[in-house]
Amino acid sequence: MSGFDGLMTGFAVAMQWQNLLWCVAGCFLGTVIGILPGLGPAATIAILLPLTAAMDPTGGIIMLSGIYYGARYGGSTTSILLNMPGEASSVVSCIDGYQMAKQGRAGPALAIAAIASFIAGTVGIIILTFLSPVLADVALSFSSPEFFAMMVLGLSLVVLLAGNSMLKAALSTLVGMWLTSIGTDLFSADSRFTFGLSNLLGGLDFIVIAVGVYAVAEIMSGIERGDETKLLPIPKGLRAYLPSWDEIKACRFAFLNGSIVGFFIGTLPGASSSISSFVSYGIEKAVSKRPQMFGHGAPEGLAAPEGANNADSSGAFLPMLTLGIPSGGATAMLLAALITWGYKPGPLFIQDSPELFWGLIASMYIGNAILFLMNLPLVPLFAQILRVPIALLFPTVLGISVVGAYAVSGSLFDVGTLAGFGMLGYVMVKLDFPTAPLMLGFVLGDPLERAVRQSLTMSQGDPSILISRPICAVILALAVLILISPLFRRKNLRTSLSD
């Protein structure tokens, strides 16, 4: 069945009223989960699984999938309004999104996030529809050496996230890489830097660090600044809630960038969702004509990662549906759901169950549109959160942070860690150490190390494997380009200033 025919069949299935209802339910639930840290799509799907066992499978998988990609929409809300990432993939949206809100442009920020998510989600699904088999093979050709190259590319982006002190940025990144190595080593079962604490054997959790360094530290900074009752400038009038035409134009490339980068990285099993948002953000900054605006409220700095994390979830469906391979906890649960209903996810899935496959794909288009329609009008509503008096808002944010940290593994140890990172984030801000490189180092450090060690085992110790394979070479060349790009920029800046 060709892509187009399949899609038509799928729409016929997805448009049935009960499937539409399940789609709405899933999207709504997903959005709520995305907003609140402490609840992830994987856990929610796990809880709902027994309830869905008695359901019609098509409606069931449509709803559960809606929860999964819907969560990516919701995550940006708290990132923008409160500097609190609702989900690991929303961390990067805090960087420029929160700055936009601080400048009184919370409404436009939320709207741009919704628009970017919609465009990226749609593009992702289109790619999924028509290019699945081809891309599945491409994704399989990616292994540890290619991963290594990608991680180097990611780390080279630190050059662009550095702000005005490369030294401090480098130190932040390195500390991030240290933090991620805490725990049990996969290859040797040795434990590193655990100080004898069994709680640290599993390592630190990214969301705990992110919420601590961003949200908790921001509260401390806010108290120090003596922010008044109204947290941030409140947009006045409906027009203030919508992005200006200029802002949308600035995001043109970001929409595309987020979609492609996010989708592709999403197809790789083992690539966590935050990687695509970082890479997309970095690429956007690298090609931008006004990189100095990034980190200070550049709309495209929000659009790129927001798009990326949505396209990432579409990409994750690729190995799941074409090969039966999960990309993470949520897709693993979706596969378990399919198996519960008696389906057999795997290479023959599309052949055996075309109505379910195409029905699901079609429902993703619909779900994406539903999410957009749900989220955009809610922008003024969400922005009202800013009206809540700080005296109540700040403690509430701390409370939500606790809930989120505790949900990681049900241990107060993680909540204590959260507090510790809150202090770290505050100190970093006071000393003008950029925090984004810390996150970047943490996210990329472990995959980088793993990729190197896996690659060298594959090549029996021959390091040339890391640069000799064609895809690796291309990506590494890109990384080098990015690393030296600031030199060109400064040159241009100087020549243009001296004119």
Binding site: G270, M333, F349, S411, Q454
Partner: protein, 327 residues
């Protein structure tokens, strides 16, 4: 006078019986929802397993008790064991163990709980595995694979989980038996392992039949041998490891239920009985068959023996493989 004495004796006798009665006939009944601790996050192996099992309990109408799955992931089994340690003496907490619980205790210096403290409740399943290669691979039998490994030590690559996982243990066992050598590449998730194999970056892997079944059916993977005590249904042409000429001890992936230290015996008996009935009930058995899990119920005392002997066996294997064993 005699009458009164008789009556008195009778009364005293009844009184004694009255107090002894409840002691003899003491049964446990859960008075609140029972927590079942899982060492993975949602979607992980034990998590999916126990949720499905609990669903079959409902289907088979075996119990009205409420169960709540609690995820305590981190450090392999360390976080889950820590939680069980905190719940010592509790009658409403259970944990789902996997073989990694045994290996973790052996190698983790800061392991929160020794196996001897844990209360065994019920062994449930043993999960078999298969050695698979890509369908375009030149190796048609296990003997081919081992011969190739012997010819070029270290050249062949196996993708697997951590160095303590079942795939790694099978590798140690096979390598020491055949004196062949091949390298082991750890990937944290099953998806990555299979992708590495399908993409041609590694030569073979050890995989559970439920994960590989569809790939095999689609002709992408070829199974070489089964790693199990008894033949798995659905793969009649695939020999067992010992049938293929490798009489090594079987390395099962065990799953079952344990309880916190000092769990009251009445509670243990209750749960053991519940799952014993489950092991004979239709929906449960159907689930096990569909996932190709070996239905091997073990009563608490048998489970204790099995865990202890497995620990001894594993200690020997890990030491022989050069890993640092601390207990």
């Amino acid at each position: 006078m005699k009458h009164v004495l008789h009556k008195l004796c009778l009364l005293m006798g009844l009184a004694v019986l009255g107090t002894a009665g409840p002691v003899i006939a003491q049964t446990f009944k859960p008075s609140k929802p029972i927590e079942i601790v899982v060492h993975t996050g949602p979607g992980g192996g034990n998590d999916v397993f126990i949720r499905a099992v609990l669903a079959t309990l409902k289907k088979d109408n075996l119990t009205q008790d409420q169960f709540v799955v609690v995820n305590k992931s981190g450090g392999g089994s360390a976080n889950a064991m820590n939680y069980l340690r905190e719940k010592a003496g509790d009658s409403h907490t259970l944990g789902v163990y996997a073989s990694v619980f045994v290996s973790d205790v052996l190698v983790q210096e800061s392991a929160p709980l020794g196996l001897e403290k844990i209360t065994p409740v019920a062994g449930l399943v043993s999960e078999p595995a298969m050695v698979v290669v890509r369908s375009d691979s030149p190796y048609k039998t296990m003997a081919d694979l081992i011969a190739a490994a012997k010819a070029q030590p270290g050249k062949l690559k196996q993708s697997g989980g951590s160095v303590l996982s079942r795939d790694a243990v099978v590798r140690y066992v096979l390598m020491s038996h055949t004196r062949a050598e091949w390298s082991f590449i750890s990937f944290p998730s099953g998806g990555e392992r299979v992708s590495a194999l399908l993409g041609g970056h590694v030569d073979f892997m050890i995989i559970e039949p439920s994960e590989a079944g569809e790939m095999i059916r689609a002709g992408k993977l070829r199974p070489l041998v089964q790693i199990a005590e008894n033949k798995i249904e659905g793969f009649p042409n695939v020999p067992l490891l010992r049938e293929a000429g490798f009489p090594v001890p079987n390395v099962p992936q065990l799953r079952g239920l344990i309880g916190p230290p000092d769990m009251p015996p009445a509670a243990v008996a209750y749960y053991a009985d519940l799952f014993k009935r489950a092991s004979q009930a239709p929906a449960y058995k159907a689930y096990l068959t569909s996932k190709q899990l070996g239905n091997e119920y073990l009563a608490p005392t048998d489970l204790r023996k099995a865990l202890d002997s497995y620990q001894v066996e594993l200690r020997g294997i890990l030491k022989g493989a050069g890993l640092k064993v601390v207990r």
